[in-house]
């Protein structure tokens, strides 16, 4: 079974890459050859190889976002043959390895595409819109200091596990990129669900969901039509049950507000 580079041949890959010099400039596809790639190259290391060649040839290397290269920072982001992060289950682009491809493959490489994510250069997009969603309500409004002991409020293991499942989101935006509607429901749902499940976050749950839903529209994200492409593309396995939770929290808050039990316009919602 194993796995040393010497046991495999190398391969050549044809890359068809979206090149765009800057925001609001026209872009187009360019074709490059990635040569002598081993199965143990990560996808980004394959791009490194291509870029080194481009630089030496006096051309502009392909700009792409990346940082931790271990699948947790959420920075890497490119659509490989129509699928964000390349389509290996629970795998970010940086963790995708070239053993998933074969010699002679042609790979289309594109940036995340959605109105809320303007392209900055080549494969790099601006994902500030996701940060804005967190800024309106993706938090518990606690102050530093003056909080109770960590064990003062008990949290059942199932609730803690559920919250952790939701909190595993790395904010890469693949859900938006995969969504036919450019919606951010999985991202928002995961945060709403995490905080609504924990007693610490329940106090603000109605205001949070109200603000988050409004912010999604403000930021130019689309609506959800339950295609579940987001779940399929998510490199962290975030499930669409969190979108169901988002819908439930919304409906609950809406009902509570309409009967006058609560108000969702607070400082937290930015109104």
């Amino acid at each position: 079974m194993s796995a040393h580079a010497t046991e495999h041949g190398t391969m050549n890959i044809k890359l068809i890459v979206w090149r765009q010099p800057a925001r609001d400039k026209p872009g187009r596809f360019e074709t490059y050859e990635a040569k002598n790639i081993t199965p143990h190259h990560s996808f980004l290391e394959m791009l490194d190889v291509v870029n080194e060649d481009l630089i030496k040839a006096g051309k502009d290397p392909i700009a792409f976002d990346h940082d931790c290269r271990e699948g947790i920072c959420g920075m890497c982001s490119a659509v490989v043959n129509g699928v964000p992060h390349g389509g290996q289950e629970r795998t970010t682009l940086c963790q995708l390895h070239m053993r998933k491809f074969k010699d002679g493959d042609a790979i289309y490489l594109e940036p995340w595409r959605a109105r809320a994510f303007p392209i900055l250069r080549d494969l790099i997009v601006d994902r500030t819109a996701l940060d804005k969603l967190i800024q309106v309500a993706g938090f518990v409004s606690c102050h530093t200091g003056g909080v109770p002991d960590g064990n003062a409020i008990l949290v059942g293991k199932p609730e803690a596990d559920y919250a952790m499942d939701a909190a595993a989101c790395i904010g890469c935006g693949a859900c938006v990129a995969a969504c036919p509607n450019g919606a951010a429901m999985l991202f928002a749902g995961a945060k709403v669900a995490q905080l609504a499940e924990l007693p610490q976050g329940q106090v603000e749950a109605p205001q949070r969901v109200a603000a988050m839903v409004k912010a999604m529209a403000d930021q130019g994200f689309g609506n959800c039509s339950n295609h579940y492409e987001c779940e399929a593309a998510c490199p962290k396995g975030i499930e669409v049950k969190f979108i169901a939770r988002l819908n439930r929290e919304f409906t609950k808050a809406l009902c509570q507000e309409k009967i006058g039990a609560i108000s969702t316009t607070t400082a937290a919602s930015g109104d």
């Binding site: 068809i16 979206w18 596809f29 659509v79 043959n81 129509g82 699928v83 389509g87 289309y108 594109e110 595409r113 959605a114 109105r115 809320a116 995969a178 969504c179 036919p180 509607n181 450019g182 919606a183 109200a210 839903v213 409004k214 999604m216 529209a217 130019g220 994200f221 689309g222 609506n223 959800c224 039509s225 339950n226 295609h227 579940y228 492409e229 779940e231 399929a232 593309a233 499930e239 669409v240 049950k241 979108i243 169901a244 939770r245 988002l246 819908n247 439930r248 929290e249 919304f250 409906t251 808050a253 809406l254 507000e257 969702t264």
Partner: protein
């Protein structure tokens, strides 16, 4: 928070109006299936229904409203979604989205058109070229069986209805399970169940409704 303009508010409205229409489709099917009990079956059913004008009109009003909300919001949402995702990828590859899911707006609009057609065809009876002559049976009741048999005896009519039922199948195979998600009832346990339920129900609709024009056209339904 706003039910009719927030993204999820409208989603909830879509789900509830959709669910109401599914309930109607269930009732309508149960009624229509009485045709398989022969002329007496469906004519009795029709007569009993006509004797309940309050129910008939209440249903018409509620359904009319449901269709209207469902239609307006879906057009609105589709336009918004197209704006939110204006550029397609070079490789069009979807991992999970189905043909039915992607074409909800089209199957929905066709169904909307079909509903109009159906109302003018059987209720108002004024579709040019496909006029239905009102007849009565021996007991003096409206002879629905005869009228339906006459209508579905024509290939065009039978074909239109069968195609429409295919649209209904597609629309509901995505729509029914989608309703549960939109109403926030899904979790990882219930979700596969709801999906199966939606699939089975839409097949039942297809077979149940579809059987009527097919059976009549091929003369399988004895008087």
């Amino acid at each position: 928070m706003r039910l009719l303009s927030d993204s999820i508010g409208r989603k909830v409205v879509m789900a509830i109006t959709g669910l109401l229409m599914v309930l109607f489709v269930v009732g309508h099917l149960l009624g229509n299936l009485s045709i398989f009990a022969g002329a007496d079956g469906i004519n009795t059913y029709a007569a009993k229904l006509q004797a309940l004008p309050l129910l008939v009109w209440a249903t018409r009003i509620v359904m009319g409203a449901a269709v209207l909300f469902h239609l307006v919001i879906s057009i609105q949402i589709t336009l918004e979604n197209n704006q939110a995702n204006p550029t397609a990828y070079a490789v069009d590859r979807r991992l999970r989205a189905t043909f039915a899911g992607k074409n909800m707006i089209w199957t929905g609009l066709l169904l909307g058109g079909f509903i109009l057609f159906h109302l003018f065809h059987f209720t108002v009876r004024s579709v040019p070229g496909l006029e239905i002559v009102q007849v009565h049976d021996a007991l003096g009741r409206a002879d629905v069986f005869a009228m339906v048999s006459a209508a579905f005896g024509k290939l065009v009519t039978a074909a239109v209805y069968v195609i429409a039922m295919l649209m209904l199948y597609l629309h509901l195979s995505h729509g029914i399970q989608s309703t549960f998600q939109s109403l926030g009832l899904n979790n990882s346990k219930t979700m596969p169940g709801f999906a199966k339920f939606g699939g089975v129900l839409s097949v039942i609709f297809l077979l149940g409704y579809g059987a009527i024009p097919v059976a009549i056209f091929f003369g399988l339904l004895a008087k």
